[in-house]
């Protein structure tokens, strides 16, 4: 498998008036092959979202990024704006958590899709428009022909996230970064979005970094998982191995925090945890 993304010793700090704060990301190494899916797992504040933003060069002043991020051979840390703009969208696509906030409220969904296709893929207006309808159909929007002229606020949360996914895959990125794309959605809608993302990665051979705090979600989309804690990658490996035999104490605590098949709160207070297959894995310390 060829290496698509290679991150070495990634550090992100946010400068404050009192000097640099504690680093949000503190020496993360990451390697991702073409077509591979990696789940970036961690609690709030573990640095997973900042890592994903750093991959896109979206960390702004007062944030400072150090280390190395090589995408397809191109170094992105401290790269000129032109290089970053070329990689963004067509090289690396991104789907954010808040789908309402991710779409411009004053333009129709179709206008935003066609804009992306025209500006970044050099399509003509007419081509871009028919391609937009196809894309909306592909992500499971019914009546795409009509819905293309609707505004973001006229879609439900799940449908909006599908539109965001359509917008990201429209530019045929080789890597998709999904930053908690299902966190704001309810469980039934979430399952549909996860199936869609899985299907898209399988069909297009697109690699994916899936950021989440949810073990069950990570398991549904990825083969490989990297667990982050306090800005560091504490554990990495195939999902099966990591979940079955967590080596780092934090991963163990994280897994035990998951209710699994507990039927009653009393099951939880005993500190026992089971993974989704019902196997008893360990006792929390």
């Amino acid at each position: 498998m060829t290496t698509l993304l290679e991150v070495e010793d990634l550090r992100v700090e946010f400068l404050t008036d009192a000097g640099p704060a504690r680093p949000a990301v503190n020496g993360v190494d990451l390697r991702l092959g073409a077509g591979e899916t990696l789940a970036l797992l961690g609690e709030s504040g573990s640095g997973k979202s900042v890592t994903s933003r750093a991959l896109m060069g979206l960390v702004d002043f007062p944030g400072v990024v150090r280390g190395s991020i090589r995408f397809d051979g191109t170094e992105l840390v401290d790269a000129p704006d032109r290089t970053l703009r070329r990689v963004r969208g067509t090289g690396i696509g991104m789907v954010f958590q808040d789908s309402l906030d991710s779409l411009n409220p004053v333009y129709t969904v179709g206008a935003q899709l066609t804009e992306a296709l025209q500006v970044r893929m050099g399509m003509t207006r007419a081509d871009a428009r028919s391609r937009s309808v196809e894309l909306l159909e592909a992500v499971g929007i019914v009546d795409a022909e009509q819905r293309v002229d609707a505004y973001p606020h006229q879609f439900s949360g799940g449908m909006r996230q599908r539109v965001c996914i359509a917008m990201a895959v429209a530019l045929r990125p080789r890597l998709l970064i999904a930053d908690e794309p299902t966190t704001a959605l309810d469980v039934t809608v979430q399952a549909g979005i996860l199936r869609l993302l899985r299907g898209l990665t399988e069909d297009t051979g697109m690699a994916m970094v899936f950021v989440t705090h949810d073990l069950a979600v990570a398991k549904q989309v990825a083969e490989r998982v990297m667990v982050m804690f306090d800005g560091r990658a504490v554990e990495e490996g195939s999902i099966g191995n990591v979940f079955a035999a967590p080596s780092h104490p934090y991963t163990r605590r994280l897994l035990s925090a998951h209710p699994g098949r507990a039927r009653h709160w009393r099951d939880l207070t005993k500190g026992e945890a089971r993974d989704d297959d019902g196997e008893e894995t360990h006792r929390a310390g």
């Binding site: 309402l100 991710s102 006229q154």
Partner: protein, 310 residues
Amino acid sequence: MWTFLRRRLLTSGISLVGVVVVVFFLARITGSPASLYLPESATQEQIDQFNRLNGLDDPVLVQFWNFLVGAVRLDFGDSIWQRRPALEVALSAMPPTLSLAGIALALSIVIALVAGSVAALFRFRGPDRVISVTTLTISSIPDFWFALVGILVLAVNLRVLPTSGYATPEAWILPTATLMLAPVGVLTQVVRGAMIDALGAGFVQNARARGYGRVRLVARHALRNAALPIVSVAGDRAAGMVNGSIIVGSVFAFPGIGTVILGAVLNRDFSVIQASVFVVGVGVILVNIVVDAVYALIDPRVRLGAGRSS
């Protein structure tokens, strides 16, 4: 949309009537026109005759009734001072006022858009600090002080601009600058704040993640979303231009509604005061309706009625 417009016109109409009524009584507190227009030696007979001629001999409530009956037909009576219909006096003063206010507001908006956007892009850094301090200083200068110092320095000492008038383009410079003082500062701060919000919004970050350039991000994606607060404040400032026009009218002898109102108050020309207040009131209502229409034009959530908004 039509129900909205109807409701809007109704509530605006009620406030307009309220203002005109209050002004009717306030004007009469200033004193009797007779004591101003007739010489001090005038006999009681002459005073009575003057009052009868100008309809000022009736009890105040009867005068008020006559005024209301006339006002419904847009007849505010004749100006005591100028001997022509009061409404005509007020309306004839509007073109210069509207031109001056329009130019001042348009320039303020353009400057504020550029300065505010630059400040937002360089938030908390050098350019932002310079722009914020400068615009806040400018908007803190009292307009009457600026007008007088402007005349002293540019017209009297340096002799580059005329002290008053409005026939030549140079004569418009100081009045325009005086009217711009307050709006430029406030609007720049509003643009800066709205642009910072819009640039930090998820959809701009998302657009950036699609590889768009900075100009596209600012001009197409951020600006239109930042426009709503800018439009409301600009509308508010447009209404506030009436106050500025009184300063400009008195200091620069710039003809306009400000000069007319000032003159009418000093001359106890009740019908002109009432007609002017009415004309200005209608103007403010129109500005507000235009602001609402622009809202609907800019934001589909206003136009289509949003279930949810961000």
